[in-house]
Every structure is written in structure tokens, then in C-alpha cells.
Symmetry: C2
Subunit: 434 residues, 2 copies
């Protein structure tokens, strides 16, 4: 399709949604992508740019002049514009900003750039519909017609007083169904949820999900209405957060995708493998310690993988439940209660696993009773320990203000491996007396 | 607060949002919860019921008569009403349905109950605003005023022809800014995204996230408009899906929370521990096989945990990336390409890990060069193998129509443990010739 016919291509692409064109651009090579971008008008291409992969966008923006980028950005909502600018180098940012023609748009984008991207300020857009409490419904509708030109989707209409402080909201539905001479003061809903501009974006997501909101106004500490956050941005926050936790649990430390380069994937994965490796070497040195004196009980070494796998699995289960519980806020305060519960749970699971293992080792592997019993007792102890470590570490990290998700996956598996093997041999030494 | 003053409590609770009251009810005991439910009017309590924990709701509903439940349900949107009914036994369902007074509401709920809960039909609500293409804007606004009484939030107005087939949409904004004598045909947008009623709910979530939609109409295969799905339901789908995948990866097979009972938690966790246990016993029997003939190379046993931990970690990393890639659709078609890439990645990571392990074992543990080299080669092989298994199994399951998320966590760790240890001893046997 690419090489020749401009007009035909243009017509063809106009039929597509920008999200679909973005998918096509992710696939074709850079030259073709830029060719397409230059062909289409900036209203479409700005939306396409928002949707393409971050890597692709970075490459495309490199090929465009500051003026061209400024044009694209001029078409975007302030929040998207600020997001794109934040990806550029500081020098480039200034060049682009100086080229933006609409002065109001420019000032708003500069304001948004100042906020941390993980806060409400980093998510919000300046585009919103605001009405003053002393207007009439009729006045309001006229004003909304003007303001709505800038706002893609009108969710709520925010009501402010003369100091621009947020005092309530007005749903479009109420407005449509009200009589035209009524005053806003009579029909607005004073009960309005809002978030502060420096609130963490995950907390904003929680509030919006809890109250089923589709947009939420952002205010500063003087209650001045600054902007609004819409649910589609929150959907992205939730997805990213879930992806991040999932990858952490799997031992992947950066946000990577299956189609990233081998170098990038290695950078994300190798550190965790190294942790696991040093854990394995630690376990080896523990085994070495006991090895010499073990004598007849060398058969114990065969069951090291069993101990290790069990410790790892229990640890991951316990920590995953804690991480989710902390994220959703379903953990009822008391740490000791939670640890006691995990202790009981570990005991129940441990006894079940130990009984089966005892029977299998004795009757299938033919190990002496005393060795099988040793393995069983070690399994119970290791499971209880792994459950307690898996529960304690996330709570501990959370109290310290560290994201507990780092505690799942290889981190917990490795520490449980090493502790598990140590406990196993210590118990064996006590019981079998080598 | 509970025991005495009805009026004071009623007044106090009226100040709260229903989501906050639901949180309180999750905490207090059942008797108190039911007392609160009976105290408040059904408009509030129906919303509270939607927000409380599933377990709590089940218990509360058991204490209410069919007539009381029918009243609660009468206040809810059809989608929420159907969700609550779906949780009751069939007999109870019929009793409650027969008590619903509003016949239209009743018919709609019955229709929704017929759809599978994991499809678009299971998510949609019947409440929507529909206008016919031959109406005028003025007629439209009058009609919307009536229809909007049933609809909590008006997202889009759907335009249908006289056969009730969906032909387009009308945004409230366009309607407010249009002239009152214009015909709908002139101002509606014919480009409207929609989903079929039997489409999978995860696919609906993907479509809505991709196109940043806040509501999507649901149609049948004759394009008849059946209902609409709003983004707040999709937020729940995304969250549940992420939670499910996360728990699967951690080896938890049911949807459990930290505050569930020990029995429920054991049911969710024990099966995976059993898989891990049998894997461990499998590994033990492999070690037993080689144990007798190993002679001087008994030191190899010390490094079993190293091999096992590495195999497990690599497997989980690879499978997690595949599971996410498959979920987000970022995997570019070709399985062979993906396997080849993981092969290269495994080689790079493997060589890095093997070199470090070689140096540490030789200089710290003092193992002979030939043993250290054996361990190094085994590590590379095991890492490559684990990466390939971790990549292949999710793709394989996905092609078979099984959720690839089951392939992460204990499942992949256990199989990699066993294969890894087998490969380790086979390589050692070849090189060291015991």
C-alpha cells in the first residue's frame, strides 16, 4: 500500500479509527510510519501518537521538528499533551512549548508539566466545564455550548463560587430536565467527591472505583478547582499497576513486553536471576556444612528439592495474598492476628503435606521410619516458617512505605529456599543425631 | 452506636455514601448489619447491598424475606439486580422474581439472567436512552427527560431505526448544542462501536480500553439494540481479571482474600502445594537414581538447590511475559520467532549466570574445575530449557482455548524443577563419566 498513491491512502486511512491506525504504525517500519503521520492532518495524527507504543512514539517524535510536534500537541487535551512533552528531553520540551500558538493551552500544559506524573496532578486535564453558582440554567446552557467545544466528553459540570472554589456539581441530565429560569444554586448537588492535586494516582483510582465515578474534580488545598480526571486514565493506571505487580511477582523488574529487545528483557530479568543464584549458592554452602557429618543419612539430600519447592510455593502464596490484601485494603489492622492465622493455616497445610510425604517416602522410597518422620516434621516447620515470612515481609515493607509487591516472587522464594534448607538440616541433626 | 437510638443512627448514616456504609457493614456482625439494613430505606440499602462483600451479602440475603429482596432489587439497575439474583438458589430466585412489582423491570431482569455472566450479555444493563432517527431534537429532549428518570448516568444516546436496529449515537453535548427543529438523522454520528451480546467480557474490556469508551451498546446478530455496558463494570472486570492472573501465578486457585476462613484458604492453596510436593518427590527419585553411581562427585548434590531455583525463576519469568503478552495481544504471531528469541535470551542470561557460578564454586567452594564447568554448562542448559518451556506452555494452552494463566506459578516451577534436575545429572554423567 505504502509507496505510491497519497490520495488513495489518505482516503483509506480516514475510514479507520485512530487506535487502529496506531496499531498499524506499531507494525510498519519507521520511515513508513512517518510518511503516514505527515500525510494525515494533525487532528488525527495527534490521537494516533497518543495510542502508538512508547518506543515507536519516541522514534517518530525524533523525526519531527519542534514546530510539527507543537502542532500535534495543540490538538491534544492538556493531559495528553503534557504526557507527550514529559517524554522529551528538557531542551526539546522548551523548543516545542515555545512553538505552541494558543497561549492559554500553553500555560495550562506548563502547569501540568510541573506535577509529579504519579499524582492526581499528573493525571488531570485542564479541560472541564465550570459554571458559577449565581448563573441561571439558560445562561448555563449558552456557556456550556462555548466551553464544550474544548472538552471532548462532558461528564459533570462543576459548580464553583466566585473564588473559583469547588462547591458542587451539576449533571447534564439535571440541566436538560430543569426549567430554564431556575438558578444554579437551586439545582446543583453540593455533595461532590474530589481529590487533592498531590494525591497518589493509585489512591485516586481507589476512590473512583469505590464510588463508581466516571470523572473526579481535582482541587488544591484552598479548594480551588484545578482540573479533572476521567475514568479512562484511571483504567490505564489500574492496568499498569496490575501489570507491574504481576511482573514483580514473576521477578521482572522493569515494565517489559514480549516484543521488547533481548537487551531490555535481560536487564529486567537478570538481576532477579542473580538473587536466585546467590540464594542457590547459599543453600549449597549450608549443605556442605552438614554433608561431612551426615554419614548414613546421605539419603536426606534427595529430599532437598522437596523441601525447597514447598518452602518457595508456600512463601509465594502467603505473600501474594498479603500484597493483594494490602492493595485492596481488606487486611484488618492487626499484624499479630494475621500472623497467627497464617501460622494455623501453615499448620493445617503442613500436616496434610507431611502425612502424604511420610507415607510416600517410607513405602515408595523405602526410607526408614525415623528418616520419613524427620522429613515430615521438617516439612511442617518449613511450611509454617515460609507462611510467616511470606506474611510478615509484605506488611513490614508496607509499614516502611515500600511497595510490598517487591517482596513476592524470586525475593521471597530465594529467602525461603535458604531458610527452609537450613531448618531441614537442623531438624534432621536434632532427631537423627549426626 | 448500635443498640438504641434509631432516629439518631438513621440521621447519622444518611450523611454517609453507600460505599462507606457497606464498608462498615463488612466489619460489624450479622445481626447489626441486618438491623442497619432494615432501618434504612430500600433506595440506599440496595446500593449498599451491591457494595458489601459477597460473603456478607449472602448472609444478609438469607435473613431477608423474598418480598424484602424483591423491594431491594426493584431499586437497582437491571444489571446489578440480575447479578444479585444470580447468587441465590434457583428456588429462591423464582420466589423473589414473582414478588417484583414492576412488570417491565421483571421481564428485563429475567432476560439478563439468561445470559452467561462472563459475556457482554451478563454485564449489560437494559437502562439506556434510545431515540428514533426520525425524531426532531425537541421531541428528543422531551423523550430523554422521561427516559432519563430510569437511567442513572446518561453516557450516550443511541439512535435506532424503526426496526430497533442500532444505527448510530448522539452525544448529549451535540444535542444540547443543536437547534431544536433539526432532525436526529441530520445530527447523529453513524460511526458507533458496539459488541455482540455473546462476546466474552474480557474482549469487551479490550475494545472499551482500546477506543477509550465510557459506554458501549450491546446488539444481537440482527443489530437489534439490547442494552449497554458502562465503564465502571469494565473496571471491575479488569480488576478481577488481574487479581485472578496474579493469584494463579502465585498458586492460589480460587478467588480468596486475606480475611477469608482458614478452610477456604486451604482449599485454594493446598492443591498447588500437592503439585509441588509430587514434583519434589519426583526430583528425589531422580537423585536416588544417580546417587549410587556418583562416588566422588557427591559434591554435585550441594548444587541441586542452585539448579532448581534458577530453573524455577527463569520459567516463571518467561511464562509471565507470555501470559501478559497474550492477554494484551502484543505477541506477534509466530511461535517459532518467539521461541527463538527466548532461546537467545536464555543463552545470554545463562552464560552470564554460569560464568559467575563457575568462578564462585571454584574459588569459594573449592570444587575442581571440571565440576565447576559441569555446573556452568548445566546452568546454561537448564536456563535455556526453562525459558523454552515457560514460553511454549502458555502459547500451547492459549491455542487450545485454555487460560494460559494456569501455566504460571507452581505449575511451571514444578515441571522446571524436575526437568532441570534431570538435565543437570545427565550432563554431569556425560562430562564426569560416572
Amino acid at each position: 500500500i505504502e509507496n505510491q498513491n497519497d490520495v488513495a491512502l489518505q482516503e483509506l486511512l480516514q475510514e479507520f479509527h485512530y487506535a487502529d491506525i496506531a496499531e498499524i504504525l506499531d507494525e510498519v517500519d519507521l520511515e513508513q510510519a512517518i510518511y503516514v503521520i505527515k500525510l494525515l492532518d494533525s487532528e488525527t495524527t495527534s490521537e494516533i501518537l497518543m495510542e502508538v507504543d512508547e518506543d515507536v512514539r519516541e522514534k517518530i517524535l525524533k523525526q519531527l521538528s519542534a514546530k510539527e510536534i507543537a502542532e500535534e500537541i495543540g490538538e491534544l487535551d492538556t493531559d495528553d499533551a503534557a504526557d507527550i512533552l514529559a517524554e522529551l528531553s528538557e531542551e526539546r520540551q522548551e523548543q516545542v512549548i515555545s512553538q505552541i500558538e494558543d497561549l492559554e493551552h500553553k500555560a495550562e500544559i506548563q502547569e501540568l508539566l510541573a506535577y509529579d506524573e504519579d499524582t492526581a496532578g499528573g493525571l488531570m486535564a485542564k479541560e472541564l466545564v465550570r459554571v458559577y453558582e449565581d448563573w441561571t440554567v439558560e445562561q448555563c446552557i449558552t456557556e456550556i455550548r462555548t466551553q464544550a467545544e474544548d472538552v471532548k466528553r462532558v461528564h459533570s459540570i462543576y459548580v464553583v463560587n466566585n473564588q473559583d472554589q469547588l462547591i458542587g456539581r451539576l449533571s447534564l441530565k439535571d440541566l436538560v430536565t430543569a426549567k430554564s429560569k431556575q438558578k444554579i444554586t437551586e439545582i446543583y448537588i453540593s455533595n461532590v467527591d474530589s481529590v487533592y492535586v498531590n494525591e497518589d494516582s493509585e489512591d485516586v483510582a481507589k476512590v473512583m472505583a469505590k464510588y463508581d465515578l466516571e470523572a473526579i474534580p481535582v482541587i488544591d488545598h484552598n479548594k480551588i478547582l484545578l482540573g479533572r480526571i476521567t475514568i479512562d486514565d484511571i483504567v490505564d493506571v489500574i492496568r499498569e499497576e496490575a501489570d507491574k505487580d504481576y511482573q514483580m511477582a514473576a521477578g521482572i523488574s522493569q515494565d517489559v513486553e514480549a516484543d521488547d529487545s533481548i537487551l531490555k528483557l535481560t536487564k529486567a530479568r537478570l538481576p532477579w536471576l542473580l538473587i536466585g543464584m546467590f540464594g542457590g549458592l547459599g543453600a549449597a554452602s549450608i549443605i556442605e556444612q552438614f554433608n561431612g557429618s551426615m554419614g548414613d543419612f546421605i539419603v536426606l539430600l534427595s529430599f532437598v528439592p522437596l523441601i525447597q519447592a514447598t518452602a518457595g510455593n508456600v512463601g509465594v502464596q502467603s505473600s501474594a495474598i498479603m500484597v493483594q490484601g494490602l492493595a485492596n485494603g481488606t487486611i484488618d489492622g492487626n499484624i499479630l492476628n494475621q500472623l497467627f492465622k497464617e501460622f494455623l493455616l501453615g499448620l493445617v497445610n503442613g500436616v496434610a503435606i507431611a502425612c502424604i510425604a511420610l507415607l510416600v517416602t517410607h513405602f515408595v522410597f523405602g526410607t526408614p521410619y525415623i528418616v520419613s518422620i524427620t522429613i515430615g516434621i521438617a516439612l511442617i516447620s518449613v511450611i509454617v516458617m515460609a507462611a510467616l515470612i511470606g506474611t510478615f515481609i509484605p506488611i513490614f515493607l508496607d509499614k516502611r512505605g515500600i511497595d510490598p509487591a517487591v517482596a513476592t516472587g524470586p525475593f521471597i522464594t530465594t529467602s525461603n529456599d535458604v531458610f527452609g534448607i537450613l531448618i531441614y538440616f537442623l531438624i534432621a541433626k536434632c532427631i537423627l543425631g549426626f
